[in-house]
Amino acid sequence: MSKRLFVLASILMVVTVLLSACGPKAGKAYECTDPLGCVVVEKGAPIRIAYALVVEGPDASLGTDSKRGIEIQIDDHGGTLLGHPIELVGENTGCNAEGGQAAATKLSTDKSIVAIVGTSCSSEARAGFPILSEAGFSMISPSNTAPDLTDPAKHVPGYFRTAHNDKVQGAVAAEFAYNSLGARKAATVHDGSLYADQLQQVFAARFKELGGEVVYQGAVQPTDTDMRSVLTSIAANPPDILYYPIFVAAGGFITAQARETPGLENTALMGADGIYTPDFLKAAGEASNGMYLSSPDFTVFGDAYTKFQEKYEAKYGEKVLNVFHAHAYDAAGLIFAAIEKVAVDVDGTLYIGRQALRDAIAATKDYKGLTGNLTCSESGDCADPKIAVYQVTNSDPATWNPGAAADSNPKKVYP
């Protein structure tokens, strides 16, 4: 009896060995030679794309809006790519360096992820992306704007962005302040984040170049609530314009308290794309009325963007929440186009080389996106930047409807 069992077991073993030997043989048709390795997507398995965006907390609208842009791009592909379903996973990044690092560490361990759309805030990318780059990932950010990230000397391989570079945004803001508002004295406040610090530097440099005087460059903590001491310092030599390109929480406090600070009654207030959201009106309240905000110029995005907005409203039942939905749509689009270019299909199994994917994204030329014609530079700048300045005309968040028309809120005032 036991002999028979033994024979049976040996036969089974031999069969298994033979079968398993067969497996690799069939797959041997493709050998991955990519220096960073390949993502293997089995037949019928999903192509996994990750987001690393801020989807919780005071700046949640920034990341949620971008996430929706990705989802609409997936819908436009019919949910599939090269016969595989597209799966979107992701991590919250919190709009700070620690959150960016934590999210990157977590995502870097999941080798089934093909590419990443993120991050929302520049500090997150600065802290987190080196980890992802090391692990071979490519990432396209819809909303990182700090000049440092695509500075050829500091660029980390695999990093791209569809958002504008703040070298453009800061300059437009300064030109608006000097030429259009007629401001001659400016003050700036940042919150220590990469984005805010660099943007105010670009603004100040351009403002001085135009002939203006920068009378104060200060900083607060993003968690501060009492801004009166910094505002009192500024009011000691009242500027014509106060530029604070920071985020929702601290931006709301500065706006509300600036209006109450004696000496700043005639100072124009100006923020940037970080607070270009109805959530900022909620945080700042009535004081946000009349405030200027720089942001991408939606009025030149064209018909495809109008259609995108319709899809967005149909899918989520509300208007766009923030600035970077279209940039995220394009970021996902670039990734999908690159995957289509480099993926090797062997009997339904996809092999996607990580280095090849990077190269394909970097080689993007004249991609027709919602935000313009995208061409990637060697250091990762893919945007076709068009910046406008808007003015808040009503502090009620429900009236948020950006545009150039007379009843828009915020209303485009420059250029």
Partner: protein, 353 residues
């Protein structure tokens, strides 16, 4: 005499005095440089001092909760930050409702009082329940255990708020009667600050008279001195402890409401920093001492508001306002070097020794 004294000083003492001396020099040098530059006029200083006092009075309301609970139970109630934020978060919905149906515009004072009382009631209930559910069963446990439990309660409440309230920021309705400025005691002050200052002082005075002049206060002081003897004297210790938590909670709720008036917005994690500062005030004032907590809070508020401008501006430090917490805490360290028990902490120390 001198010899004895020389024998007793150690290297640590000398190091401490060195640090103290450096801090004093920095403060004096910075202040002189700023004041002699004449950058700020008296109106600017007035503005900063009033802001500091207003913030300080809110910190004081929160600090009372830490200090009375410590006085009675020898326990730091780390959940106090969430007891503070719970009131204004829940009262936000009442404020919104009253604002939307127009009641707040018609009867602003009645409306404000209603929202304030509601906020106090909610914080008081949270404090009562926290004590009843989480701390009372551990009354006889070693001291570290309720402390860790308090941290747990704090997290539990924080994430409950996050779930119920969402992680975004909401703005409190702003009232027209609280806008603008008015002359007050010869100064030009924002109306909302006057309201906050007066309400805070009235509440602190009420608290002080409860502790000093009522039967309940007497019982509280007795329990704080010796629980077992107090029980033998016929005092219901559990009831007094509950009352203590409720008083601390109600004041924190009032502080939370005033905080929302001052900053116009609330968020689920809003309690952390104000409560951290209030706790520090309580320690600096001498934890367990009610008047000490008030003094410590006022001191912290004023240093925070004026510190960067007066100490650092003159030294030419770039972006000094980012360092306001650092300045405040350095000065607190300075006070604790020379008075380890806090400003008014001595009475407690000798009593409990």
């Amino acid at each position: 005499m001198l010899k004895n004294w020389l024998k007793r000083i150690s290297a640590t003492d000398i190091l401490m005095w060195g640090i103290g001396l450096i801090i004093i020099l920095g403060v004096v040098w910075g202040s002189v440089a700023t004041l002699s530059s004449g950058k700020y006029d008296s109106a600017a200083w007035q503005n900063l001092i009033v802001t500091g006092l207003t913030l300080g009075s809110i910190y004081a309301l929160i600090a009372i909760g830490y200090t009375v609970v410590y006085g009675i139970l020898r326990m730091i109630n780390f959940a106090h930050s969430e007891i503070f934020s719970g009131g204004p978060l829940v009262a936000y919905y009442l404020a919104r409702a009253l604002n939307d149906n127009g009641f707040l515009a018609k009867q602003p004072i009645v409306g404000l009082v209603l929202v304030a009382l509601f906020s106090m009631f909610i914080s008081m209930s949270i404090a009562f329940l926290a004590e009843r559910i989480a701390y009372r069963p551990l009354r006889k446990a070693p001291r570290l255990i309720p402390l860790i439990t308090a941290i747990g309660v704090s997290f539990f409440l924080l994430y409950t708020y996050k779930g119920l309230f969402g992680s975004g920021i909401k703005d409190y309705p702003q009232l027209d009667i609280l806008k603008g400025r008015t002359p007050f005691l010869g100064m030009d002050i924002q109306i909302v600050y006057i309201v906050i200052l007066i309400s805070a002082f009235v509440l602190l005075a009420i608290l002080y008279s409860i502790v000093q002049f009522t039967k309940l206060g007497k019982a509280m002081r007795a329990v704080s001195e010796d629980k077992d003897t107090a029980a033998l004297m016929g005092i219901d210790v559990d009831q007094i402890i509950s009352a203590t938590f409720m008083i601390g909670g109600a004041l924190a709720g009032a502080g939370g409401f005033l905080y929302a008036l001052m900053f116009h917005q609330v968020a689920f994690a809003m309690g952390f920093f104000p409560a951290l500062k209030a706790f520090t005030s309580a320690v600096v004032g001498g934890i367990g001492n009610v008047v000490g907590a008030m003094i410590g809070a006022m001191f912290l508020g004023i240093i925070e508001a004026m510190g960067p401008n007066i100490f650092l501006d003159g030294l030419g430090v770039p972006a000094p306002n980012q360092l306001k917490d650092a300045i405040a805490f350095v000065l607190l360290v300075f006070i604790l070097i020379f008075r380890p028990t806090g400003i008014l902490g001595e009475r407690l120390a000798t009593k409990k020794a």
